[in-house]
């Protein structure tokens, strides 16, 4: 069996005292920095990259992979604790995760996120080890039209995300799409809706928007409350770890999230993000009743977190097999390889098998460390929430500002944060949920880009959207999802349909 020999080679590389140490150090530093709101994996890896320059290539990659997992999990931690998604893929984690935290169940939420991530990570590592080359082939088969239809499917799913009124959810998606129009047009280079402000040339800052709508708006809304009501969290902390019942309830959700994340993670651009949204949407439809999504259902944390981490793992596939990074973090890793004097690309597997398999093995070890590090830390995080609001709120605001500033080192992003905080407060007052808006903002520009590219390459022939089997399948799935929302609506049972 090749695979066993290969994995043995990989573990041989990964399980040395030095590499284990750096793997742990990476996970530790990644978690530590990633837990600052807004400082996601890209910023964390960029910051810590110089630490790896002096290391041996395998050790450097192992450490970077550790930083990546740590930072990714750190993003989920803030999503659950203070309603601030560190990056787009942890937006859905806020929906039920933060509600759980408010109910004093932050511990189980963080625990299930760690456990779900570990299971998903282990499975996805196996996928990477076994199926890297064929999966990369599949990802290459995706044409612009297929991506477009996948995004359409994702957007319809966004409507299902919302808890309350369907009309408001659609309105939020549309608002997100409109905001997504701001920026430079991909095809012509023309600035659209930037009002001559250079800072808007690359579009609205996702992080500023997410932090404003979720984190800061939540702080403002809480300040309205008087006296005791102002404390966001119940003082009763409850158990720190998920109970046996929690685990049992979440098992299938973790499994579904893992599968979905493993598949979507290999698609360059947006794959891992769609995975977490899709996982949540599917849970909302198929999880066993009683369903209480949006009000602290643990499965609403387990599934997207599993999907998120599985996707993070399989997103290594295009990088390792083609040298094409599937997200900015991967691009940084490729940069690190180049500085190490290794040319990333398909040759890595044949010329430097010890590096390839060493990374694969350390993925699993990194996930193990993540679990080992985070389960004991949960108690500490949860205790932070017990801090009085007069200390907690200013701290949240300060960290939000640091996070937003760090992305581009540009003060104008802070103005965006202010504007979106005000908008977020308005949305809370109007009872509109921001999650569909975020998905619209993220998917809208990609959808447009892929549609226009599909039409450009087909020389203007729109039938390409239905003649590609993949595209057709996604469009049909989107139509089915739409029908599943619309049919009960027509039967004027809207409330029942959406209460789930």
């Amino acid at each position: 069996m090749d695979i066993i020999a290969n994995l043995a080679l990989g573990f041989g590389v990964a399980v040395t005292v030095t590499n284990l140490l750096y793997c742990f150090l990476g996970v530790f530093l990644g978690t530590l920095i990633g837990v600052l709101p807004g400082i996601g994996p890209v910023a964390t890896v960029a910051m810590l990259l110089p630490l790896t320059f002096s290391l041996d290539p395998a050790t450097a990659m192992i450490m970077l992979a550790g930083i990546y997992y740590g930072a990714q999990y750190g993003g989920s931690t803030t999503a659950i604790l203070v309603n601030i998604p560190g990056e787009s893929s942890s937006v859905v984690t806020t929906l039920d995760g933060y509600q759980m935290a408010r109910q004093g169940r932050a511990g189980p939420a963080l625990g299930i996120a760690a456990i779900g991530s570990f299971i998903a990570g282990s499975f996805a590592t196996l996928v990477v080890a076994l199926f890297s080359p064929p999966l990369a082939e599949i990802a290459l088969k995706f044409q612009p039209a297929d991506y477009f239809s996948l995004m359409v499917f994702g957007l319809v799913g966004a409507v299902v995300l919302a808890r309350g009124s369907l009309r408001k959810a659609i309105g939020m998606v549309v608002l997100g799409l409109i905001l997504g129009l701001v920026g430079t047009d991909v095809n012509s280079g023309v600035m659209r809706f930037t009002f001559g402000i250079p800072a808007l040339a690359e579009g609205i800052s996702f992080v500023a928007l997410a932090m404003g709508l979720f984190g800061v708006a939540e702080v403002i809304a809480n300040l309205e409350q008087r006296g005791k009501n102002r404390e966001v969290f119940t003082s009763r902390l409850g158990s720190v770890l998920p109970s046996r019942g929690d685990l049992k309830r979440s098992a299938w959700s973790i499994a579904r999230g893992t599968g979905l994340g493993s598949v979507l993670g290999i698609l360059p651009g947006g794959g891992a993000l769609l995975a977490s949204f899709a996982a949540y949407t599917i849970e909302k439809k198929v999880a066993k009743p009683p369903r209480d999504f949006g009000n602290g259902d643990i499965r609403g944390v387990a599934a997207p977190e599993a999907a998120n981490n599985a996707g993070a793992q399989t997103s290594f596939i295009p990088m390792l097999t083609l040298g094409v990074p599937s997200n900015p973090t991967m691009a940084l890793m490729i940069g690190a390889l180049m500085i190490q004097g290794i040319q990333p690309g398909p040759q890595v597997l044949t010329q430097r098998p010890e590096l390839f398999w060493g990374i694969v093995a350390s993925m699993w070890i990194g996930n193990l460390f993540l679990l080992a590090l985070n389960l004991p830390l949960i108690g500490l995080w949860v205790r932070l929430l017990a801090a009085p609001y007069r200390l907690l709120f200013p701290a949240i605001l300060v960290f939000c500002c640091i996070g937003v500033f760090t992305i581009n080192n540009n003060a104008s992003d802070l103005f965006q944060l202010v504007v979106f905080s005000a908008l977020g407060y308005l949305l809370i007052k109007l009872g509109c949920e921001p999650a569909p808006l975020i998905l619209g903002l993220v998917l809208g520009p990609m959808m447009e880009e892929y549609l226009r590219r599909a039409l450009l390459i087909s020389l203007g022939d729109p039938t390409v959207l239905v003649t590609s089997p993949l595209s057709l399948a996604f469009l049909l799935a989107a139509a089915a999802l739409l029908a599943s929302i619309a049919v009960p609506l027509i039967r004027s049972k809207r409330e029942e349909a959406l209460k789930e």
């Binding site: 910051m47 630490l51 991909v186 990074p325 040319q343 450009l456 020389l459």
Partner: protein, 325 residues
């Protein structure tokens, strides 16, 4: 804060311990950490060069050089930040060939490259490979031109965006061969590279460091290289000029510029240090493997090179009618 974090404790301690009194510039330089501003996101080729130079200069000058990414507006925001910085040698710009395109195509920028900056040193140059998907029925540049002429407007070429090197290279090719190809723009190189490997577009001019491995693996076919001479890593691949488009040349480069008014001794010191780095065999070995070549020049030579490059592409832009609107 991130800047400090990026350098770890060394930069922090140095910054805190050193007296702030103004030393005579060249003798004491660098007496505190030096910022290299990369006006693009982390992880791209310009960023990699910036980080490599920062690392090497830190070692050579016993002072921390660190990269700060200031992305936005295709590089305008970060470049402008350097233009407006004090010309004291403590803020430098990592400049690359797309800066020239930007200069020609973006009219309302808040800075003028050759007025607001002085050339310090180029570092590396990298030719592109003209690659096609293996399914394209052309084994040579001549066959490709014939194919394009047989089906005007039906062949597509990918670029990393309007005004990118890949776009300019494609337009220059169209201009010099009289062919008509469809430009398909992507947001950055990776999407474009993915689609040429996947066969969704036909052709692309892509930098050797990036696409070289895919050529060796047979995922795309190289028809030619774009430099004045053949690339060391691909001795069997002719240049575009040799292969039937005499005079076609299109080379990417990256290096360092400083705000105008930076004292000459500092510029010369940095130039000497960068050239010292480029002369090291291990530097050559590292970058050779990536398909990039060292590019040692004096500040005056670099300045002349920049002006010549600007002139050449201004003509191409005019003739091809490339516009960002």
């Amino acid at each position: 804060m991130p800047a400090m974090l990026r350098n770890g404790t060394l930069a922090l301690t140095v910054a805190l311990l050193l007296p702030w009194s103004a030393p005579s510039p060249a003798q004491e330089y660098p007496s505190r950490p030096v910022r290299l501003i990369v006006p693009l996101g982390a992880g791209g080729p310009t960023d990699i060069v910036g980080r490599y130079l920062a690392q090497a200069l830190s070692e050579q000058l016993k002072q921390s050089f660190f990269v700060e990414n200031r992305p936005g507006a295709a590089g305008v925001i970060g470049t402008d930040a350097v233009a407006k910085s004090a010309p004291d040698g403590y803020t430098l710009l990592v400049v690359a060939s797309p800066h020239i395109n930007l200069e020609i195509l973006q009219h309302n920028k808040p800075y003028v490259l050759m007025r607001d900056f002085v050339a310090v040193a180029p570092a590396f140059s990298y030719d592109a490979l003209m690659v096609v998907h293996p399914s394209v029925q052309a084994k040579t540049v001549k066959e490709f031109i014939a194919l394009a002429k047989a089906k005007p407007g039906a062949l597509t070429y990918a670029s990393s965006g309007p005004g990118s090197n890949k776009h300019m290279g494609g337009e220059l090719f169209k201009l010099m061969t009289g062919t008509d190809m469809l430009h398909v723009a992507y947001k950055g190189s990776t999407g474009a590279r993915n689609d040429i490997i996947g066969g969704h577009v036909h052709m692309m001019f892509d930098e050797i460091p990036a696409v070289g491995p895919n050529v060796i693996a047979g995922q795309v076919r190289a028809l030619a290289t774009t430099g004045p001479k053949r690339a060391p890593g691909f001795p069997d691949v002719p240049t575009v000029s040799e292969a039937g488009v005499p005079g076609y040349e299109h080379t990417g480069w990256s290096g360092i510029m400083a705000p105008a008014g930076t004292p000459k001794p500092i510029v010369d010191l940095l130039n000497a240090e960068i050239n010292k780095l480029l002369a090291k065999p291990e530097t050559k070995a590292t970058w050779d493997k990536q398909g990039a070549e060292t590019m040692p020049m004096t500040p005056a030579q670099f300045d002349a090179y920049l002006r010549a490059d600007m002139e050449k592409w201004t003509k191409v832009v005019k003739q091809a009618g490339i516009k960002l609107e």
